[in-house]
């Protein structure tokens, strides 16, 4: 009950501010007669979303599939690599500078190459999303796995625990909050890279919808695509917050 009330207390001002903003936007557009190709009003965008719901939902489905697929693959690769590196410290010394160097290049920069290697279909987007997620998840998880103090590791050793015992009973649980942070950043990055890749070359997805609408100077549909994409990533973010509570229940 208290939590609900609290949720309401934070949601109410945000909702009010948002409603105010939308109203002001709508009013300004109508008052000054701004043409739709410069800036459509919220009502116009909403109407377009309803009208174009067929192509928008088809695009959304493609984009979500690519993001979800890449996210799952990338998380798996990132966590697995982090575990290998923490179990084999010499490997970590060699690999980490490389990973940090790659991480400092925005993954969008790799889009043309990946399109070349994996084609214009979904595979290239999934590969890009997986790559973007794997890098952040790897770096964050590794940091978390190395978090436990030597005293805690020694405690387990004194009970006769093996490296794997220490990994499962101490390192992995301690890494959970870090993993969740990695997932959050990775989700944002993978959504971006997927949409950009769809715009640069693809057969479907919200990026392609936006791209084609832009080519036809249909700014209402561009806006509709952007709004749907934002809503989708907001929804995914909400899922992650729920996951955070599941994975890091002790906080």
């Amino acid at each position: 009950m208290a939590i609900r009330l609290n949720g309401l207390r934070t949601a109410l001002p945000v909702g009010l501010a948002l409603a105010g903003l939308l109203l002001a936007w709508e009013a300004a557009v109508r008052l000054f007669g701004v043409p739709a190709f410069v800036l459509p009003g919220p009502s116009g965008i909403l109407v377009t979303i309803a009208e174009k719901s067929n192509i928008l939902s088809a695009g959304l489905l493609v984009t979500l599939t690519e993001v979800a697929g890449g996210f799952a693959i990338g998380t798996f690769i990132g966590v697995a690599l982090a575990i290998v590196l923490v179990l084999v410290p010499p490997l970590e010394l060699m690999a980490i500078p490389l990973v940090i160097a790659i991480n400092s290049v925005p993954s969008v920069a790799f889009v043309p190459l990946v399109l070349l290697w994996f084609g214009l279909g979904m595979a290239s987007k999934i590969a890009l999303a997986a790559f973007a997620v794997a890098i952040v998840v790897l770096l964050n998880t590794l940091q978390g796995l190395k978090r436990p103090e030597s005293e805690a590791i020694n405690l387990l050793r004194s009970f006769g625990a093996s490296r794997f015992g220490i990994l499962f009973r101490l390192r992995l649980p301690a890494a959970m909050p870090f993993l969740v942070t990695g997932l959050r950043v990775g989700l944002a990055r993978s959504t971006i890279v997927v949409i950009v890749a769809e715009m640069m070359g693809g057969y479907g997805g919200l990026g392609q919808v936006i791209y084609q609408a832009t080519a036809m100077m249909d700014s209402l549909t561009v806006w509709a695509g952007v709004v749907v994409a934002s809503m989708a990533s907001l929804g995914l973010y909400g899922l992650l917050v729920a996951l955070d509570r599941k994975l890091v229940w002790w906080r």
Partner: protein, 292 residues
């Protein structure tokens, strides 16, 4: 050396002194950290011997090498090659002691993601016992450890004294005959501490394990121990071993008895001398730093 351990041994040892080897024996144990220009000798030339069932307290100034000594006995840190550690008469090569000794480190190190119950069963799980069995076994100890009703709580919901008892329970559930306790009550207030000391003696008398207990507190060392060992300032070595002949079971009134006072007078001088040395040492180091 070993003859002393046997003479002063706990009740279990006394009758069969000639056949039972010391439970734990350290022979010329050293630990040096780093290499020459800035080498730290943490532990030097430690010889000691503890009989089965004995409760030995170890007291010494801060930084004299007590925790380092414990880490070596627990098998976490190999002693330098000039010495050896024997368990029930058997020499223990590097790493062989891991898993053989119940070790409670200076910090409680409870895992925040585990409930009190699951923190207590940690060692049992590592040993491969099923969760269900381990929990059942731990649950039966909760009343004795004063933690009834807190099984499903998380560590951050407990007071310092309770956390310490959970860490102790985790150590006791790792059923090894030799228990190392590194300042288990160091962070507690005086009142809780006195209570915990009596409680620990009670548990020890019932479970009959060999205990080696580090403390900074002379009263605590005398009150608990069959034997008090005083360590020198760093490099730490055993300076003096005092047998405590106070009758057991001991209660709070022991502390004010003349015998206790007499022992305390003797130990106090010795301990304070070492503490002063530590103080002087660190002041010298500071002086040298400011001069250069």
């Amino acid at each position: 050396m070993s003859s002393e351990g046997i003479q002063n041994g706990g009740m279990a040892a006394r009758s069969k002194a000639s056949v039972i080897p010391p439970h734990l024996q350290l022979v010329n144990v050293w630990k040096r950290f780093g290499s020459e220009p800035n080498r730290t000798v943490a532990v030097s030339n430690v010889d000691l011997s503890i009989a089965p069932g004995e409760f030995v307290t170890l007291i010494g100034p801060s930084g004299c090498g007590k925790s380092t000594l414990f880490n070596m006995i627990a098998g976490l840190l190999p002693p330098d090659s000039d010495g050896s550690i024997l368990l029930s008469g058997q020499p223990q090569p590097d790493g062989a002691l891991l898993g053989k000794i119940a070790f409670m480190p200076q910090k409680d190190l409870l895992f925040p993601w585990r409930t009190v119950l699951d923190n207590a069963t940690l060692a049992l799980e590592v040993e491969g016992m099923s969760r269900r069995k381990a929990r059942a076994k731990a649950e039966s100890l909760f009343p004795e450890f004063g933690l009834m009703g807190f099984e499903r709580h998380y560590p951050h919901e407990l007071s310092g004294g309770m956390r310490q008892r959970v860490a102790l329970m985790r150590t006791f559930l790792f059923e090894r005959d030799l228990i190392l306790l590194d300042e288990p009550f160091g962070a507690l207030d005086a009142l809780t501490r006195a209570m915990m000391q009596r409680w620990l003696l009670d548990i020890w008398e019932r479970h009959k394990r060999t205990v080696l207990f580090i403390t900074h507190d002379i009263d605590e060392a005398i009150f608990l121990g069959d034997k008090v060992m005083v360590m020198t300032a760093r490099p730490g070595t055993i300076k003096q071993t005092e047998t405590i002949a106070l009758p057991r079971p001991r209660d709070a009134s022991v502390i004010t008895s003349p015998d206790f006072m007499e022992i305390k007078r003797r130990l106090l001088a010795s301990v304070e001398e070492e503490s002063m040395k530590t103080f002087a040492l660190s002041r010298d180091a500071a002086d040298r730093k400011t001069m250069s």
